[in-house]
Symmetry: C2
Subunit: 380 residues, 2 copies
């Protein structure tokens, strides 16, 4: 019969981390619950939507929690409802007491709220994993390479493998993140400080997003473990499990042009080019093929969109540097906007081959191993 008292705010913060794995729209009703396990060491809050599972441990010693555990035990409670109730308690601490089997009373100030729960035996078990030889990485580093690539995943379920982010480790140290929807691609490679075992897996994009919000502290050190169908990412308190996308990711290396193919090399101010594309997009949304036309002729670069019904954009762009041949190329401005958004440096180098071949973007400084690709649209 569980009995503990705890600081309300600290408990809510932990509850909300676990709740990121809990969806109210799941087919299995038990998964709308949160599992609360109280031991003499602390409290573990577990949530799962079947794809992602989070175990969050609040240690007895946690100073913010000010926890006092009188009796251990376990219970399942309706997650959303439980969070609302705790959130509305009047005092800064509350008591959590199981008064009869699977029924708890929360007491805070003059308020007593009784909640009916379920037996933890009803909760599905998280598939166990071997926790040896972790890949070690800082949360901020992993989040950054996901941000630089995951936006390019496909949202079409027709090729499920492309809805995930392809994460590989080669040569025991080269960590590569790639995403493509077959219209554009983004690839980032970093070199790890510590050697680790090679792997090759595809993470669902939803899991990537959850991961980013669950590990909010960029400085936290993560241990990552792999099995054939799931990975576990954990720090001292949070264990984040996610299933993988099944199947083989296509070979994206062959998409990247070789240096010799390029015929035109331009450098732009990232912010200026992005604003030009923002304006172009307003009009291109009203055209049938949804493209902007870039005309590079001598020293003049012009972006144009022409919608017979709505109007047109005509804009000159001044590149910071230019070398190569003239070219006229059309593409979806949204792809260029998305690509420019994840380039943190002020200048971008864009290289072209022809009007029908993908063009590439790299940050101008080129100290990062970060390349993006956008496929043009054949017009006329």
């Amino acid at each position: 019969m569980i009995n503990f008292s705890i600081n309300k705010t600290a408990f809510l913060n932990n509850l909300r981390i676990t709740k990121q794995a809990i969806s109210s729209k799941v087919a299995i009703p038990t998964l709308s619950k949160i599992k609360i396990d109280v031991s003499t060491e602390g409290i573990t809050l577990t949530g799962s939507n079947g794809q992602i599972s989070i175990e969050n441990f609040v240690a007895k010693e946690d100073e913010n929690a000010g926890m006092l555990i009188s009796q251990p035990g376990s219970i399942l409670l309706e997650a959303n409802f439980f969070e609302s109730v705790v959130n509305n308690l009047p005092e800064i601490t509350f008591d959590f007491q199981e008064i009869e089997q699977n029924q708890v009373v929360l007491t805070s100030g003059q308020s007593e709220i009784t909640l009916k729960g379920l037996d933890v035996e009803m909760y599905p078990r998280i598939q166990e994993m071997a926790t040896e030889n972790p890949l070690k990485i800082k949360a901020g580093v992993l989040k950054e390479i996901f941000t630089e690539t995951a936006f390019a995943v496909s949202t079409q379920e027709s090729r499920p493998i492309l809805t995930g982010v392809h994460l590989t480790l080669t040569d025991n140290k080269l960590l590569k993140s790639v995403a493509t929807d077959s219209h554009r691609m983004s690839q980032r490679i970093i070199t790890l400080d510590k050697l680790s075992e090679d792997f090759d897996l595809v993470l669902p994009n939803k899991s990537v997003n959850s991961f980013k919000s669950v590990f909010s502290d960029d400085d936290t050190e993560l241990d990552i473990f792999f099995s054939s169908n799931q990975i576990l990412i954990r720090n001292e308190t949070i264990s984040f499990y996610t299933r993988l996308v099944e199947g083989n990711y296509p070979d994206t290396n062959r998409l990247i042009p070789s240096e010799a193919d390029y015929t035109l090399d331009l450098t732009f101010d990232v912010a200026n080019l992005r604003h030009t594309m923002d304006r172009a997009k307003l009009l291109s949304n009203a055209t049938t093929n949804g493209t902007v036309k870039l005309t590079i002729s001598g020293d003049t670069i012009t972006a144009t969109v022409n919608s017979p019904e709505v109007g047109s954009v005509h804009e000159e762009i001044t590149p910071l540097a230019k070398s190569g041949d003239d070219l006229t190329i059309s593409f979806n401005p949204q792809y260029l906007i998305d690509a420019l958004k994840v380039i943190k440096e002020p200048e971008v180098r864009i290289r072209f081959i022809s009007a029908v071949r993908p063009f590439t973007l790299v940050p101008k400084s080129d100290t990062l191993d970060f390349v993006q690709l956008v496929t043009p649209v054949r017009t006329n």
Copy 2:
């Protein structure tokens, strides 16, 4: 052929005021447009959704606008699209030039955007009104009495008259705002500084909300004019027209109990009582009748909700003052929450007659002529 230049931010701010009358979901396609009338005196931006119409005048002398008018004229442009385009222009000013009939070019920096418009003859005319003997009132005062009452309007279309706010002037100076959905009522009366002609009308709640956001400056002095089916509220630059709800509003005066009827008089801390009701609501949402039970017995006041499936709340409330008989009464906690939300003073006086008669709330200080009524729910 219109030609002017203007500060982008100032123009956008004015455009957004007018746009509050423009809905993209209107049956008449012309109403998705904004009407731009340029005279030698300034620019008038007009928008309408058929119920509400806004004319917003930007004077040539407006310092923020930095306007330069070369040629007057009028045009209709697609409102949402036009706003997006202006918002994305690169420089702090832009030129607006009509290059051929109903086609304009916006030029800003290196960017040239051509927009196709329509002839202003296609735009419906706003019904004219006699603008004599206005009621004069500060925007902040009118907004406050709307805030105190409009939340109680009905959302049910079965009695359209109750979906509006009943606004009356009697004795040439008593301005009363009332709203009720037949479960609760809120009534606020203020005395005007200047005498005005009596009136009796019902404002649609949507118009009340628009009015509050259009006149964002509480200190602005408003002139209000009435006709049989619309009112005009205006200050120096904005004219806000709205149609009225047709029909006769029920007599709500008879709902307010006479002093002699009360049998129980309680005073509460507004914030504490509201938090208790917030918690009660969490559980009452899961019950069949959706009520909280208040038991007043001697010096003890208890709020309870019992949901057989979900759980229960049991909470003691300490009143700041009490006189009168014991009582047990059940009601929807949301109505009490809504009522407490609009009481700015720290204490509220609640008086009861019986378990089946409405109870009343007034701010404790009682310097305001502000009364609210909540109808209880008869349980078992």
